[in-house]
C-alpha cells in the first residue's frame, strides 16, 4: 500500500513547515521532501493543495465512559469522534465504572480499542488512588504493565499532600508521572462557576480562581522537591500560568495543557444558564482567558487537550446546580484552535506542536513525520468554513457550548498507520 500526498504544506511538528510531498508505504512514512516525490506503484495520489499535513494529533485528556457509562460514550464512538477531530491517539482518564484502578479495566479498554475500534490508538491513564478516593495508592506498577501511560485522579484530585508526595515518588519508580487536575476541593465546594462579577450577577455559587493556583503551586513544589516531572491538566487561570512559568524558570520539569474552551469562552457565557457552559475547571474571566492564550503562545502551556467529557441529555438537561460538568471537545478542538492561527496569534508550527506535544510528555511513539516513523497523519484544510453542528458529531455526546459557531478550518483526513480511517464528508 502506497499513498503519495503532494502539493501539501508539510508541518512536521518541530521546525519550519514547508511546501512538499510525503510518501507513505504500508504503515510507515517512507519519504518526506520539499519537492515532488517520484514513486512507482502508488495506490493513491492525493493532491493536497492548500492542505496542511501534520503528524497525527494526540489528545492527552479525554473521557470515554467505558466501562460503566456507555450511554454517554463508549470506546468505539469515542475513537470515531477522535478520528473525526484529527486525533490518531487518545489518552483517557480513569473515571469509569469500575474505576480504571486495576489491570483488568486497562486490558479491557485496550482490547476493545484494538478489536472494535477504528485504529486510533488508545492510551489509558490509570487512577492514582484506589477508586479515585484519594486514600490509598492504586497498583501503579501493575497499571503501567497493563499499558497506563500516567496516573491521575483527574476530577477527584488528591487533597492529602502526604499521600501525593509518596505517590509521585512511587510512580517514578515505574517511570510514569502523576497528572494533576489542580483544584482545591474546599474552595470549590458547592461552586457552579468562576467566582467574580458574573457569578455575582447571575447568582450562581462561585469557585474562586485561587483554588487552581494553590493546587498548581503545591504540585510544582512537590515536583521540585522530589526532582520529578509533573503534568498539569486544563490550566484555566492567569495565576496558574504565572506559577507554572515561575517553576519552569527554576528548572522544574512541569508541563501543562489547556483546552480550547478556556481560549475562547469566559464566565460571561454562563448567563444563558445553558448547562453546556458548566465545566470543571469553570470558564474564567476575560483576564484569565487572555493570560491562557499568552501562556500557550510563549510556551508556558505546552499542549492543547480537549477534556472531552460526553454526557447524556438526562445528565445535562437539569437545573444548573444538578447538571453534570463537562463538554465534548474532540470534534471541535482543531477548528476552534485554528482561529488563533488565522488571527496570527500563534504560528502554524506552534499549532501543530501543541497538538503533538503529548507524545513526548508521556513517552508515546508518534508526533513526527520523520522518514521511517509510524504513518499517523492528520490532514487539515485550513480555509474550509463550516458551522459546528452537534447533531453531526460521531461522539454520543451532544454537550457543547459551540453549537452554531462558525469556524474556519477542518480536519480533512485522518490516517493511522498508513490507513485512512476518516475522511471529512464535505
Amino acid at each position: 500500500m502506497k499513498l503519495l500526498i503532494k502539493n501539501a504544506t508539510i508541518c512536521p511538528g518541530t521546525g519550519q513547515s514547508f511546501p512538499g510531498s510525503l510518501l507513505v508505504e504500508n504503515d510507515r512514512i517512507a519519504k518526506v521532501a520539499p519537492v515532488e516525490i517520484k514513486a512507482d506503484g502508488v495506490d493513491e495520489i492525493l493532491d493536497a493543495r492548500g492542505m496542511i499535513v501534520a503528524p497525527g494529533f494526540i489528545d492527552i485528556h479525554a473521557h470515554f465512559r467505558d466501562p460503566g457509562f456507555e450511554y454517554k460514550e463508549d470506546i468505539v464512538s469515542g475513537l470515531n469522534a477522535a478520528a473525526a477531530g484529527g486525533f490518531t491517539a487518545v489518552c483517557t482518564m480513569p473515571n469509569t465504572s469500575p474505576v480504571c484502578d486495576n489491570i483488568g479495566v486497562i486490558e479491557y479498554q485496550k482490547k476493545k480499542a484494538r478489536e472494535e475500534g477504528n485504529g486510533v490508538r488508545l492510551f489509558p491513564i490509570g487512577a492514582a488512588t484506589k477508586g479515585q478516593k484519594g486514600e490509598t495508592m492504586a497498583p501503579i506498577g501493575e497499571l503501567k504493565e497493563g499499558g497506563a501511560v500516567a496516573v491521575s485522579d483527574d476530577g477527584k484530585p488528591i487533597q492529602d499532600s502526604s499521600l501525593l508526595l509518596r505517590l509521585m515518588q512511587y510512580a517514578s519508580s515505574f517511570g510514569i508521572k502523576y497528572v494533576a487536575h489542580a483544584e482545591d476541593l474546599y474552595l470549590s465546594r458547592g461552586g457552579q462557576m468562576n467566582e467574580g462579577y458574573f457569578s455575582t450577577l447571575y447568582g450562581l455559587p462561585g469557585i474562586p480562581a485561587v483554588g487552581e493556583a494553590l493546587s498548581v503551586a503545591r504540585e510544582c513544589l512537590m515536583a521540585e522537591y522530589l526532582g520529578l516531572p509533573i503534568h498539569i491538566c486544563h490550566v484555566s487561570t492567569k495565576a496558574a500560568c504565572d506559577i507554572i512559568a515561575f517553576f519552569k524558570t527554576r528548572g522544574v520539569k512541569v508541563t501543562a495543557e489547556t483546552a480550547p474552551h478556556y481560549l475562547l469562552l469566559t464566565d460571561e457565557a454562563l448567563g444563558s444558564y445553558d448547562p453546556n457552559t458548566k465545566v470543571n475547571p469553570p470558564l474564567r474571566s476575560e483576564e484569565d482567558r487572555r493570560a491562557v492564550i499568552e501562556a500557550l503562545k510563549n510556551g508556558t502551556i505546552d499542549a492543547i487537550a480537549t477534556d472531552h467529557a460526553p454526557h447524556h441529555e438526562r445528565d445535562k438537561n437539569l437545573e444548573f446546580n444538578a447538571a453534570a460538568s463537562g463538554m465534548v471537545g474532540l470534534e471541535t478542538a482543531v477548528a476552534l484552535t485554528l482561529k488563533f492561527v488565522h488571527e496570527k496569534q500563534i504560528s502554524l508550527e506552534r499549532f501543530v506542536e501543541v497538538f503533538t506535544a503529548g507524545y513526548r510528555m508521556f513517552g508515546i511513539e508518534g508526533g513526527t513525520l520523520a522518514e521511517g516513523s509510524l504513518a499517523d497523519i492528520t490532514l487539515i484544510d485550513p480555509s474550509y468554513t463550516w458551522t459546528i453542528d452537534k447533531n453531526m458529531f460521531l461522539s454520543k455526546g451532544r454537550n457543547t457550548p459551540f453549537h452554531g459557531f462558525h469556524v474556519k478550518g477542518a480536519v480533512f483526513r485522518t490516517i493511522v498507520a498508513g490507513k485512512t480511517i476518516y475522511t471529512r464528508p464535505y
Partner: protein, 304 residues
Amino acid sequence: MKHLLGIESLNRDQIMQILETAVSFEEINQRQIKKVPTLKGISVINFFAEPSTRTRMSFEVAEKRLSADTYNIAVAGSAITKGETLADTALNLQAMAPDCLVIRHAVSGTPHMLAQIMNCSVINAGDGFHEHPTQALLDAYTIKKRKGRLDGLKVALIGDIAHSRVARSNIHLLTKTGSQVVLAGPATMIPRGVEKLGVTVTYDPKEAVKEADVVMMLRIQEERESGLMYPDRREYARFFCLDEKLLSLARPDAIVMHPGPANRGVEIEDDIMDGDRSVILEQVANGVAVRMAVLYLLLGGSNA
C-alpha cells in the same frame, strides 16, 4: 413583555409602567369586593419548588382577584429527585396548557431555562441567589408611595447580599431609577465585583445608614452559614442589627423595610420592626397590587 425573569433585563420605562399600573390595582384592593374579571379564563400555575409562604400566597391572591384560574404545585425539593429532567418537567407543565407559570426555584436560572422550553409566560418568583423581580417591584412601589420618587434617594441595603436574590433585584431596580444604593455587611456577605453594578460598598452599617432615606434589612440565611460566613447570630446582631441607635443616623423621615421573614433580634430589633418607621406590612399589602399589575401586563395586556 412576555416573561418577567428579572429586573436586570428591564428598562426604566418598563419598571415605571408596572408601578403605575399597580396604582389602579391597589385601589381595587381597597374595595369591598376585591375581584375583577380581567383575567377570566386565563390559567396560571404556581410552581413552587422551594418553601415559600408569603410570595406564594401573594401571587395566589393576586391571581384570584384578577379571576384567573390558579393551580398550585408545591414540590419538596426539585423535580430531579424524581429522576425527571427539567425538559420533562417543562413539557409536563406545558401539557396542562397554562397561560402563565409562576416559578420559585432554589437554583438560579431555572425560570430562564423553563422560559426557553415553554410557550407560556414565565414569572420568576425567586431563583436561587439570582433575582426576585416582583419583590423589588413591590419594594419600589412602597418606596415611591412613601417618598414620592425613586430617584435621588439613598438606600441602605444591609445584610447577606451574597446570597440574596432580593438584594440583586433591588440593586438593578434602584440603580436604573437613579437612586444611590449603599451595601453593608460583613465582607463575607458582599459578593465579588458587586461594585460594578453601580453600588457603593461598606462594611460599616453606620456609614450605610447615615442620611439614608430607606433602610432595607436582609434576612440572614440558613443556619448552615453560621460559622462559615459569620461566627454566630449573637456576634452578627451585635454589629449589624438595625436598632434605634443605628437608625438614628438615618434621615428623620427614613423608612425601614424587610422582605421577610425577619429574624427578630438578629438583623432587626423588635421595636424597629414594629415601630412607626417600619413599612414591612405595607410591603406585603403592596405586593398583591404589584403582582396583579405584572400578571395584567403579561397576560391581559392590550386586549384586556
